[in-house]
């Protein structure tokens, strides 16, 4: 092939008329001439066209023929020639291209998908279109070049059914598959009482849900709409706590989500995520299921979010003490959706405590143990030092669990700073006998100051006038008063001094008219207790009882108090719960603080009569009863079955509580737990 090719390649759409023109030499004006159109590659003839010679040029009008729509190429390079007077003239190249592209959209089942929007791109040119009601649209004036078709959101390409130079048929999905980015699909625990933290999205009662497009459907596109709805369980399975109100923030019941709240989030740019917020409320155990989708059926992914609460504790203990496993407490707390996490442990030995710390390291012999061994006793008289060991770096959710071997209070309260004392005045009828019982226990060394419990003592003969001993009186010393806790913990053994004319020689019951009762007056120090634990603000004192179950129950019980249980006028429940709906709450009845008596009436059949015996209960315990007096027929103690009952066994696991009862659970679950009781 020869010919001049100095000009830019002319482009001609198929079926459009093009002027073929070649300069020729010779030939008469108006003489016919035949043009032959050939492919550049291979010189294959494409067409012939009749023309004429006009003013020295062979000219013809040609309706361009070129690539077929069913073919692969959109363009065909051609040239044309003509021969005049034996001289062949050849044209420059001409590009014939398909200017029309037929675009068809189908659903996955092959049926037509109407009104599918797309963007057709050739180089930098963009042509927008829609397949219309028939599902097919022919785009005209498409310049030559590679055609790229992008379907508009939310449509996603499944496959090209036909992809030729002039026909593009696509199978499409009407939507993309949505994917939960946060929280991930499945089950999710949200710590609703913990402070919100952008780095820890699992914390806080407001949860931001992030949704994207599943990787199978490519990146998200501007215009994609993510649908979400939230489904709550039945109202009976949700806490009646009213504040904050559970909701899909900025959501509403939509026609497509009815009766559930829903929200549709349109993405503003390619690659974006859809986000929306949930107010989960603060009640533990409340659940909500979030369902998302690329369509309003929201069937692509779901997550069930459960509200949990986490509080922390520092464990402070004697280094020599081995604390029981806490699985039981953990289980009881898990029932009310609380995790009690140890944040720190502080151990100490005797040498770490102040030398003058009253009544802390007590000879085990006082408690029936081996003399010389030391037990840790904590109570009102020394708790202040142990409380100071609390490093509250988890404020306001930190608790301080202090473990001791025994709990006794040698002062009325931490504020009183004065040893508990009691005066007893009684008659002895023999030289050695026990005193009446005190309000609390007596120790060989008073817990408050380590001294002998006798503060002062005296004796007076009750002999009538004229009888031996009449008018005699004297003092009693520490040597005359003994403590033997193996026999009596609340009494002292008095031995009246003898020596011929001492009270020990004068004493008798009077029947012989020579020996008469001696009135003894003692002022003694004592301690209240023993207790199994106590809760005061974030400080919880727990006695390391032999029984693991009972120890665990005390842990749960004292934490319960810090968590404002049992409900009472001072532990007012949150809005939505009614105090009087709790059928078994009580104050007093021999216990300190608000408690729960669930199960007590079922267990108690008798009560102690105060004279060493028991009497049958007529019906339930009354408002005036001391629950500590309730018992079984054999006098053995009874307890409520709720861990918030005011007393508990120290070692008998069969009497241990069953966790929080059905009355208490709603109140515990409803607590915000965003701050511990101060």
């Amino acid at each position: 092939m020869s010919g001049s090719a100095t000009a830019k390649v002319k482009q001609v759409p198929v079926d459009k008329e093009a002027t073929l023109e070649l300069k020729v030499q010779g030939g008469e004006e108006g003489a016919p001439v035949t043009f032959t159109v050939l492919k550049v590659d291979g010189d294959e003839q494409v067409d012939t066209v009749d023309g004429t010679i006009k003013k020295g040029k062979a000219v013809a009008k040609w309706v361009a023929k070129g690539p077929e729509p069913d073919g692969e190429d959109r363009s065909l390079r051609v040239y044309y020639t003509c021969e005049v007077n034996g001289v062949k003239t050849v044209s420059p190249e001409l590009e014939v291209y398909l200017a029309k592209v037929e675009v068809t959209s189908q659903l996955e089942d092959g049926s037509a998908l109407a009104d599918a929007s797309f963007v057709l791109e050739v180089g930098k040119k963009e042509i927008k279109g829609s397949t219309g009601s028939s599902g097919t649209y022919t785009v005209d004036n498409v310049p030559p070049g590679e055609v790229e078709i992008t379907w508009r959101a939310p449509l996603r390409l499944v496959e090209w059914v036909e992809d030729t130079a002039g026909k593009k048929k696509a199978k499409l999905k009407k939507s993309f598959k949505a994917q939960l980015l946060w929280p991930p699909e499945g089950d999710h625990k949200q710590w609703v009482n913990l402070k919100k933290d952008p780095k820890k999205p699992e914390q806080g009662n407001r949860l931001q849900v992030r949704v994207g497009v599943h990787p199978d459907d490519g990146p998200s596109r501007a215009g994609d709409v993510v649908y979400a709805k939230i489904v709550y369980p039945a109202p009976a399975d949700l806490s009646p706590r009213e504040q904050p109100k559970r909701e899909l923030v900025k959501g509403a019941v939509q026609p497509w989500s009815d009766p559930d709240p829903g929200i549709a989030v349109e993405l503003k740019k390619d690659g974006a995520e859809a986000t929306f917020e949930l107010e989960l409320g603060l009640a533990g155990g409340d659940q909500v299921t979030v369902k998302v989708g690329g369509t309003d059926t929201c069937e692509d992914a779901e997550v069930t979010i459960t509200n949990w609460r986490k509080v922390f504790y520092q464990l402070t203990r004697n280094k020599a003490s081995a604390v029981h496993d806490l699985s039981r407490a953990e289980g009881d707390l898990a029932d009310v959706f609380v995790v009690y996490e140890q944040s720190k442990e502080l151990t100490f030995e005797r040498k770490d405590t102040p030398k003058d710390l009253p009544g802390a390291w007590v000879d085990a012999a006082e408690f029936g143990g081996t003399a010389g061994d030391l037990l840790l006793v904590i109570g009102s008289h020394n708790a202040a030092w142990f409380r100071k060991q609390f490093v509250d770096d988890k404020k306001p959710l930190g608790n301080h669990v202090m473990i001791c071997d025994k709990q006794y209070d040698a002062w009325e309260s931490a504020k009183s700073k004065a040893p508990l004392r009691q005066l007893v005045s009684f008659d002895l009828k023999k030289a050695t006998d026990w005193s009446p019982a005190l309000d609390g226990e007596v120790f060989q060394k008073n817990l408050a100051d380590g001294k002998h419990p006798l503060v002062s003592g005296s004796w007076t003969s009750t002999a009538p006038k004229g009888k031996p001993g009449y008018g005699k009186k004297g003092k009693l010393a520490a040597a005359d008063v003994a403590v033997d806790r193996t026999q009596q913990t609340r009494r002292v053994l008095v031995t009246l001094p003898g020596g011929g004319s001492g009270p020990g020689d004068l004493v008798g019951d009077g029947t012989d008219d020579a020996h008469f009762p001696v009135r003894v007056t003692l002022t003694l120090t004592y301690a209240l207790g023993p207790y199994l634990g106590e809760s005061d603000g974030p400080h919880q004192l727990i006695v390391l009882t032999p029984g693991s179950d009972c120890f665990n129950d005390t842990i749960t019980h004292e934490l319960g108090h810090t968590l404002r249980q049992a409900p009472s006028k001072t532990n007012a429940p949150p809005k939505g719960l009614v105090l009087d709906d709790h059928a078994h709450r009580y104050n007093y009845h021999g216990h300190s603080g608000p408690h729960c008596a669930h199960g007590l009436n079922a267990a108690a059949t008798h009560k102690r009569d105060g004279k060493g015996g028991v009497e049958a209960l007529a019906g339930d315990a009354t408002d005036e009863d001391d629950y500590g007096d309730l018992c079984k027929a054999d006098g053995s103690s009874v307890f409520g079955d709720c861990v918030m009952y005011g007393s508990g066994p120290s070692s008998d696991p069969s009497s241990a509580a069953d966790g929080f009862c059905a009355d208490c659970k709603p109140y515990v679950k409803a607590q915000a737990m965003t701050t511990m009781r101060s």
């Binding site: 504040q243 306001p396 709990q407 209070d409 009325e412 009183s416 004065a418 004392r421 005066l423 007893v424 005045s425 009684f426 008659d427 009446p436 019982a437 309000d439 503060v455 002062s456 009596q488 609340r490 009135r519 002022t523 207790g529 023993p530 207790y531 199994l532 634990g533 106590e534 809760s535 005061d536 019980h557 004292e558 108090h561 404002r564 007012a572 809005k575 007093y588 021999g590 216990h591 300190s592 603080g593 102690r608 105060g610 060493g612 007529a618 408002d623 005036e624 009863d625 001391d626 500590g628 018992c631 006098g635 053995s636 307890f639 007393s647 066994p649 120290s650 965003t674 701050t675 009781r677």
Partner: protein, 390 residues
């Protein structure tokens, strides 16, 4: 006679300084009962507590049956208003006692003898006293014993303004008189009743105080409505705030509804506690007479506060009922008399809101301001204990 004498500052600095001597004096005197002491005056700005020192001395037998910490109750009456507060002395620490031991440590009969303790409590904390000026009359009750009453003035010593009598007069003149409380228990048929009964009302005493009759022994017979009747006639001081007046035109606005969500600085618990406090503001305003209320008795010309204390015997937690007793004596609201007479008839087995005596023995007192009457004894005997042959 055992007297608790402490200097004012000693109540805070060393309330138990003389404990040993007091206990021994009680034993020497054979004193049985309750004695209390409190500072005669408390500066509300300088002090945060109201210490109460209590000497309790009891026979060994009584002490074994009834513990002070469990069974005692303190009652404070504000003389200027008749408001009343009551509270116990249990150790409110949430301490968890182990079960009671079998009676190994306890005497079947502790025998003759006596035991005494000295206690120090913060009465403000125990009774939930509002920390505002006023004169309190405090009495303790346990079993059949009542302590000596003590009077405590809560004052604001303050600066020059507070001490200026003209300022005090100026403020008093502008202070709106408070209103009486609704009658409680409300009038019902046949009881409670507040009218004089020719046959059963005791004569009104000549001097200020109460005249009381109380059924001594009552059988709880389920087939008929048993009654335990307390009847009293009284002559008591009348304060302007007790006088019934029509509702004012410019009624004091109730406190506004509490804000619901926490403020930015609050936790949820703080918000809930604040809401609870604010919700009680209206109740508190009513209790203080700051809000007019219909007294519920069209014939009442005045309503007087009277406190009923009932202590179970030998042991148990006392019950305290704040009564609001109407009188119908004609009086001029603009110039009321200094005292007024009235009557009450209460069936102690049928008081409303579940407050009623149950079976057992009881010691009952009536208190109003500086006037008290009691103990009056009654015994409610179950039918099962009655009958049988001689």
């Amino acid at each position: 006679m055992v007297e608790l004498r402490l200097e004012r500052a000693q109540f805070w600095d060393a309330p138990q300084r003389d404990e040993l001597a007091l206990l021994e004096r009680a034993a020497d005197d054979g004193f049985l009962g309750l004695r209390i002491a409190a500072p005669d005056e408390v500066d509300l700005d300088a002090r945060a507590t109201l210490p109460l020192v209590t000497l309790r001395s009891a026979s060994l037998r009584d002490a074994a049956r009834s513990a002070f910490r469990k069974d005692a109750v303190g009652v404070a009456l504000r003389l200027e208003s008749g408001e009343a507060w009551a509270g116990g002395f249990a150790r409110e620490k949430g301490g968890r006692p182990p079960p009671r031991r079998p009676a190994a440590d306890l005497d079947e009969d502790p025998g003759e003898g006596l035991t005494a303790n000295l206690y120090v409590h913060d009465l403000r904390e125990r009774l939930g006293l509002p920390w505002r000026p006023g004169t309190l009359r405090v009495t303790l009750f346990q079993g059949e014993h009542a302590s000596n009453p003590v009077t405590v003035r809560l004052v604001r010593a303050g600066g020059a303004l507070a001490r200026d009598p003209d300022v005090a007069q100026f403020l008093a003149a502008r202070r709106r008189p408070a209103y009486p409380q609704p009658v409680w228990p409300p009038i019902d048929h046949p009881y409670p009743s507040y009218e004089r009964d020719e046959e059963t009302s005791p004569p009104v005493p000549d001097a200020r105080g109460f005249a009381v009759t109380l059924d001594r022994v009552v059988e709880l017979e389920p087939r008929r409505a048993a009654r335990c009747m307390l009847r009293a006639s009284f002559r008591l001081p009348l304060l302007p705030r007790h006088v019934v007046r029509p509702a004012p035109e410019d009624d004091e606005a109730a406190p506004s509804a509490p804000r619901e969500a926490p403020t930015p600085d609050e936790t949820w618990e703080q918000a809930e506690a604040r809401e609870a406090r604010e919700a009680t503001r209206l109740a508190d305003a009513r209790a203080r007479g700051l809000v007019w209320q219909d007294v519920g008795d069209a014939g009442a010309t005045a309503v007087l506060p009277v406190v009923l204390v009932a202590c179970p015997l030998p042991a148990g937690r006392p019950q305290v009922w704040p009564l609001q007793v109407p009188v119908d004596a004609p009086l001029d609201p603009a110039a009321p008399p200094a005292e007024v007479a009235g009557h009450l008839h209460l069936d102690l087995l049928a008081l409303p809101e579940g407050r009623r005596l149950r079976g057992g023995s009881w010691a009952v007192w009536l208190l109003a301001g500086e006037h008290a009457s009691g103990p009056h004894r009654t015994a409610v005997v179950p039918s099962s204990a009655v009958g049988g042959g001689a």
